[in-house]
Amino acid sequence: MNLVDQAHKYHALWTDRFAQPWLRIVTLTIYYLGILVVLVALHGQGNFSTPPFIYQNF
């Protein structure tokens, strides 16, 4: 079995499995959750620092 045949085989297998609605829903839900996690990781950390200024401390 050459590489192309193997790819077709796995594609068919995946298409067959993914055709099941519950699996498709779960997979997509995980996918969207992953997007949310990445968004939180990228933007969740707030920046509460302030620009420095010279305090006239006499």
Binding site: D16, A19, Q20, P21, W22, R24, I25, T27, L28, T29, Y31, Y32, L33, I35, L36, H43, G44, Q45, G46, F48, S49, T50, P51, P52, F53, I54, Y55, Q56, N57, F58
Partner: protein
């Protein structure tokens, strides 16, 4: 393969995205509950930790620019939040033991303080900080510490200093917080827009503030239109705030795992503390006649003393005092505190009378500050403690900016203690113009009349009194180098 649920199969992405969003919101809510619980459990130990007054430490931005820890402090019954500026964290090793955070560390009278603020946290900044904890303010005691120099050294806070204290979360809570009246939000927005650099890269906040400030029906309609967006944006900032607080508490497990220190049973011996403070400060203020700290004198004044003599007169002092925008901000702050149902106390450091006498600002001119502050307190029915009777006390402030010397800190401590226990003293009479500013325990009452304090026990150590020659005419001379910039 036949579909088990044709409708679901038709909208797999929508159903999954919806499920992911619901799950995400649930996780965030659970995280918020965990974060609030952790913050509440940690806040008392955190307030008693030295890190709380470390002005350069990692806790500073989380405490001062965030709202989570302030909110937790408001909810803790044994903490008294105090909002102020550099006097809360600009310390020397010899003043540190008298700072309320350290003195009340073991809660000897049942509480400790939660200081919020850093240098140049003026009324406009405090106004926004308090807006971010609005729900927790009802019925809550809050002390606000004012610096007199805000009112007579300049017309308004410097833009860079305001930006250095700015918090998008606090500003957003004020702009989009519906607990405050529309009128107050509009007035505050007008002031906030006078510092355009802080809103220049925050389009939503800028849009809201500009429309609030405008006040026309169309502008208010635009403001109402973006209000939900602002609320959502604030919610995101709050999650970020919680995440920062939790990350800090995770990285400093001692704050969370160690139990709160047990309450000390030893009452504070105020007279002895005052004598000790006096003795300590005398050893750190013995190279000048003004009662300034040695390090301040050496660093800033010793070379310029003759130049600063009578450099300032009453007219520019009174003119600045009259026109300062800080009064506007103070009134906004008081309106906010009243609207939110807080129980505030206004504290003000006294003006360093000895130094300003030398600069050419007489006690009569300085009296105008105390009178105006007291007048505002009366107008808003808010107690004011201005320590005007310490104007001539050279052991109260350690520099002309009003940063507190050990005795000044102890006076603050006593007032805070009285405020927490509802035994605040009535306002003292404004003192008559004093011919010569003096120093030490011989110059002032060790504590205001009307307060109840623990009885003195044991033998008190006798401080070494340092008698000064009052005939050197210190009083008619004293200064302020800022006046070089302000003089017309």
């Amino acid at each position: 393969m036949p579909a088990q649920n044709p409708r679901l199969q038709q909208i797999p992405h929508l159903a999954s995205a919806l499920a992911a969003v619901i799950l995400g919101v649930a996780v965030l809510e659970a995280f918020q509950l965990y974060a609030r619980s952790l913050e509440f459990r940690s806040i008392t130990a955190l307030a008693a930790d030295d890190a709380i007054i470390d002005r350069d430490g990692p806790l500073g931005p989380i405490k001062n620019q965030g709202a989570a820890l302030q909110q937790a402090a408001m909810e803790a019954g044994c903490l008294l939040p105090i909002y102020g500026s550099s006097e809360l964290n600009l310390l020397q090793p010899y003043t540190r033991p008298f700072h309320p955070t350290i003195l009340f560390q073991d809660r000897p009278t049942g509480f400790t303080i939660f200081p919020v603020g850093k240098a140049e946290s003026t009324c406009l900044t405090i106004l926004q900080k308090l807006a971010s904890v609005a729900p927790a303010l009802r019925g809550r005691k809050v002390a606000v510490s004012l610096s007199p120099s805000w009112f007579y050294m300049r017309l308004t806070v410097r833009p860079d200093a305001y930006a250095g204290n700015f918090s998008e979360l606090h500003a957003g809570e004020l702009a989009f917080g519906t607990r405050l009246s529309l009128r107050l939000r509009q007035d505050a927005a007008r002031r906030m827009l006078q510092f355009p650099s802080t809103v220049a890269n925050r389009p939503l906040l800028q849009f809201a503030l500009e429309n609030l400030a405008s006040g026309s029906p169309l502008s208010l309609a635009c403001y109402d239109a973006v209000l939900p967006l602002g609320v959502v944006h604030n919610a995101i900032l709050r999650y970020q705030d919680h995440l920062s607080a939790v990350a800090y508490l995770w990285q400093h497990p001692v704050k969370t795992s160690s139990p709160t220190r047990p309450q000390s049973a030893t009452p504070l011996d105020w007279p002895m503390l005052h004598r000790h403070a006096d003795a300590v400060y005398r050893t750190h203020s013995n190279n000048n006649e003004f009662g300034l700290a040695n390090e301040k004198w050496d660093a800033a004044f010793s070379q310029e003393t003759l130049f600063l003599r009578n450099i300032r007169s009453e007219e520019p002092f009174l003119s600045t005092l009259e026109r300062s925008q800080e009064w506007v901000d103070l009134e906004l702050l008081l309106r906010e505190l009243i609207e939110l149902g807080a129980r505030p106390l206004l504290l003000s450091m006294p003006i360093h009378g000895g130094w300003y006498d030398y600069c050419g600002v007489t006690s009569t001119a300085r009296r105008a500050y105390y009178e105006k502050l007291r007048g505002i307190g009366v107008s808003y029915h808010i107690p004011v403690v201005d320590f005007a009777d310490h104007d001539a006390d050279r052991s109260f402030c350690r520099d002309p900016m009003g940063h507190l010397a050990p005795n000044g800190l102890l006076n603050y401590d006593q007032v805070l203690d009285g405020f927490f226990h509802d035994v605040i003293a009535p306002q003292s009479e404004l003192p008559a113009p004093a011919p010569v500013a003096s120093r030490g325990t011989e110059a002032v009452l060790p504590f205001p009349p009307g307060l109840r304090f623990p009885a003195v026990s044991g033998t008190l150590p006798q401080p070494v009194l340092h008698v000064r020659d009052s005939g050197q005419g210190v009083q008619d001379q004293i200064p302020n180098q800022f006046s070089r910039e302000e003089k017309p």
